[in-house]
């Protein structure tokens, strides 16, 4: 087996172990939480001891913890993540629908944050210790420090008469053509994505500024300056590539947000995404939904990291040694 194949096999083994450990941990961790799903469900006018017992039986919660765990593994082996206690629908469909809502919104927000953050970071580094640097750095720090919920509410108050402020689409519209549907969805995406972008671009600005600033003093950059290359070429061709490692690392860390959503943003904008679904599941102790959502998010993040490892291996073959 070649070194490279061995390296990859090791990474896959770690990823597989990570998935199994996560699904096991998810199962037991949530059940350690105080409270259960049926207590609040039974807090209704027809509530009774018998109702609680009936619900426990219906959800299989009357079995031992190990019994429930084995049932869970058996279900998963068949590709079945169970049924949500709250909606009584299959978890797989619920999670995929929520992911379908989350990923486009968070991708747009994170992409916007990376674009604005790296651009302002490079400009701040190039003009370091000037008024421009000061303005960019301070604005980035202030906005990055602001609570996401506050940013969201300010945007709602300012933009509510121009843009949709809730949901992923207009629930009252019956637009049959794909173009109208797409435009409607895009309009609904603007404010939540902008909130996410504003809440996160500051870290890209600050990290990029530091990284680029560190490379500006390197010999090859000094040589490029001495040759008289234009500023744009020096920055994009010489300084930025060597400063990419921390920026890429930060981008990879954002993968969790892209897939896992943002609970705060999704809550304020009533966005039917995966972050909000997980929050609701915790409140309702909807174990199957919570396990399913976290499993899908975890698998996605592990796969993204695996892909990043492979990319790194291509970029720097010394890694496998």
């Amino acid at each position: 087996m070649s070194t490279r194949t061995s390296y990859l096999a090791g990474k896959v083994r770690v990823a597989a172990f990570g998935v199994f450990a996560t699904l096991t941990l998810n199962f037991f961790l949530f059940r350690v939480l105080p409270g259960d799903a049926v207590s609040s469900m039974a807090r209704v006018p027809d509530g009774s001891v018998e109702l609680k017992e009936a619900l426990m039986r219906q959800f299989g919660l009357d079995k031992s913890l190990w019994g429930q765990y084995l049932d869970y593994l058996a279900q998963l082996a068949q590709g079945n993540m169970g049924v949500s206690y709250a909606s009584l629908r299959p978890v797989t469909g619920e999670v995929l629908a929520a992911l379908g809502n989350t990923v486009p919104m968070t991708l747009l927000g994170i992409a916007l944050a990376i674009l604005v953050g790296t651009t302002t970071g490079v400009v701040a580094a190039w003009r370091h210790d000037t008024l421009v640097d000061s303005i960019i750095s301070n604005v980035a720090t202030v906005i990055y420090s602001a609570p996401t919920q506050w940013i969201a509410i300010m945007l709602i108050l300012a933009m509510a008469q121009y843009l949709p402020v809730s949901g992923a689409s207009d629930p009252f519209a019956f637009a049959a053509d794909a173009w109208s549907v797409a435009i409607d969805r895009l309009k609904h995406m603007i404010l939540p994505s902008l909130t996410l972008a504003l809440a996160t671009f500051g870290q890209y600005t600050l990290v990029t500024r530091s990284a680029v600033l560190a490379t500006l003093g390197d010999d090859h950059v000094a040589a490029a300056k001495a040759i008289g290359f234009p500023v744009r070429r020096i920055l994009t061709g010489y300084a930025l590539p060597n400063a990419l490692i921390p920026i890429v690392t930060l981008g990879a860390l954002s993968a969790g947000t892209v897939v896992g959503g943002s609970v705060v943003v999704e809550t304020v904008f009533s966005w039917p995404g995966i972050g909000r679904a997980m929050y609701d599941s915790i409140i309702q102790r909807d174990f199957p939904m919570l396990q399913g959502a976290l499993l899908v998010v975890t698998v996605a993040v592990i796969l993204i990291n695996l892909a990043a490892d492979i990319v790194n291996m291509k970029l720097d073959p010394r890694i496998v040694e």
Partner: protein, 550 residues
């Protein structure tokens, strides 16, 4: 782009829904369900995850289902108005009720709606009362059988005389037998797993669109047995945050908001939106652990201590400051808005710290030099459990007010907030023994009939709805007596006596009675103030009375 059109909403809506469902992109027709088309758009923070009437416990789902399914009657205060049943009679001891069912009714799939559907529904509920229909069937647990001798007659036989029998039966939504009978076979497990995302409706409206926790959109149903609704459609949109909901109302993207946060009332009024503020059923309270299993703070079971505590809670200030005036001082667990059922002699204790101090002094809870009292050898310091996501910021402010006043009587209160599931487990735990908790702050939303709220303190509810472990055999006997009493005056006397026992023993101290605060934009008429709120799960009248101005 979406354009607004008048008229023919139904046809366009159906076509659009079909197109959306199939993922078709070829059609170009567009429509919007809005006020201009006579569609009432309601915004709420009460979500709805499922349209299965036997599994959902969410009031907004039940309110929507009540628009899509018929029932024998619709609640009107403490009375019942005819609905699918146009009239009814009962025998002398009110154990046999005969209903005359309206003729000509149809389900949305064209099948006839008859008394047989009503009889089937009740039988299905009884058949699976310990299983899949348990959430809806308890209210008819004293029913023996239901029969439909012909298509327009329903006969319901009770095992025993049952108080509010008519009200209980009117709570039930009638299901189409041809849809639900196959689900009811065997152990009825299919009833609980049935999504019911495309309900076969028999009420004034049928479903046009449902996306869980986002929207329920309904349109008038052809073939409805009653008078056609004035509304051309109803949409209930669900929000997870009230800021966006209020802004949608101000920007005319919604017509009604329920409940409206008290903090938004001024902003909404400035925007020209009308705000309704009227007494509701929901109350907030302190509850005391009455279980002997709780050994660490036995003084919590002392009724004199509870009496002193009741005098140290400034209900008026809590109503005015914590709830911004959108609440009134509370008294009985049976709210005054229920009319005759609330005992007028049960009044809230006066706020009197001197009296509270005296009661505690007389009871032997001595105040030390440091200002704190002692009981059973320890400082009187109690953790007050509070479900922050249910009681909200108002509840936390209320507890802060009480904490400051309690310091003046030498009693320390420490707020312990968590989510409702955690608090519920802490109150009853560990393992339903009630061995740990002392005090909690939580509330209830009673019904107009007192049976339910009076049941939460029964001995038999320990392990069920009970959150105090209160158990009083005399009280339980009175509960059983009122449940069988069909003479309203005699029942009222029993219910009043039960409230007096609760006031004496104080498993609960009702702090405030919260108002219903709802907002509605001009351009609609027929808005009614309903103690349950606009999203009424016992009657469709709040929606049926609404009319577009044009």
């Amino acid at each position: 782009m979406t354009r607004h059109i008048r008229g023919n909403f139904i046809g366009t809506a159906i076509a659009a829904v079909a197109a959306l469902g199939l993922g078709m992109a070829a059609q170009t027709s567009s429509a919007k369900a809005d006020a201009a088309n006579g569609v009432l758009r309601v915004g709420t923070t009460f979500s709805c995850s499922s349209l299965n009437p036997y599994t959902t416990t969410q009031s907004s789902c039940l309110a929507a289902l009540r628009l899509m399914y018929p029932s024998l009657g619709q609640a009107s205060g403490t009375d019942v108005e005819p609905d699918l049943a146009e009239s009814w009679t009962s025998n002398a001891d009110a154990t046999v009720w005969t209903f005359k069912i309206r003729s000509g009714g149809k389900w949305s799939d064209g099948q006839p709606l008859t008394a047989k559907d009503a009889a089937f529904t009740i039988d299905m509920l009884l058949k699976h009362i310990e299983g899949s229909t348990a959430r809806r069937a308890r209210s008819i647990s004293t029913v023996e059988k239901a029969e439909a001798p012909d298509e327009s007659t329903l006969v319901v036989t009770f095992k025993q005389p049952t108080a509010n029998a008519l009200g209980r039966l009117a709570q039930l939504l009638i299901m189409p037998e041809h849809v639900w009978a196959p689900l009811s076979e065997g152990d009825g497990a299919k009833i609980a797993s049935f999504a019911n995302d495309q309900p076969v409706a028999g009420g004034p409206f049928k479903l046009a669109r449902f996306v869980a926790d986002q929207i329920i959109l309904m349109q008038p149903m052809d073939g409805y047995f009653g008078a056609a609704p004035a509304l051309k459609g109803v949409g209930i949109q669900f929000f997870t945050d009230s800021t966006a909901m209020v802004q949608a109302l101000i920007n005319k993207q919604l017509d009604i908001v329920t409940p409206l946060p008290a903090t938004s009332v001024d902003a909404v009024r400035k925007a020209g939106v009308e705000v309704a503020n009227y007494p509701g059923l929901r109350f907030h309270s302190w509850l005391f652990n009455s279980s002997e299993n709780q050994k660490k703070f036995p003084e919590i079971r002392d009724v004199k201590l509870r009496e002193a505590f009741a005098h140290a809670i400034d209900r008026k200030k809590i109503a005015e400051v914590a709830y911004l005036g959108f609440a009134t001082p509370g008294d009985s667990m049976v709210p005054k808005v229920t009319g005759q059922w609330s005992n007028p002699n049960v009044v809230g204790e006066t706020f009197d710290l001197d009296l509270a101090n005296k009661i505690l002094d007389d009871a032997g809870y001595a105040k030390g030099a440091d200002g704190w009292r002692t009981a059973n050898g320890h400082r009187m310091s109690y953790h007050v459990l509070i479900p922050a996501n249910v009681e909200g910021a108002e509840g936390l402010r209320a507890l802060e007010i009480a904490t400051a006043d309690f310091k003046k009587i030498g009693v320390e209160l420490i707020a312990e907030q968590s989510d409702n599931a955690t608090v519920a487990a802490a109150i009853t735990g560990p393992d339903n023994t009630f061995a740990d908790a002392t005090i909690a702050q939580w509330g209830w939303i009673p019904q107009m009939d007192p049976d339910f709220i009076l049941s939460v303190v029964l001995c038999s509810q320990i392990g069920g709805l009970s959150e105090t472990a209160y158990c009083n055999k005399d009280y339980d006997d009175l509960y059983a007596a009122q449940a069988k009493e069909v003479d309203p005056e005699k029942r009222k006397a029993i219910v009043w006596k039960m409230q007096e026992i609760l006031q004496r023993d104080r498993p609960y101290i009702v702090t405030v009675q919260q108002n219903n605060v709802e907002a509605h934009v001009p351009g609609w008429s027929g808005f009614t103030e309903n103690p349950i709120g606009f999203l009424d799960y016992t009657s469709n009248q709040t929606f049926m009375s609404m009319k577009p101005a044009n």
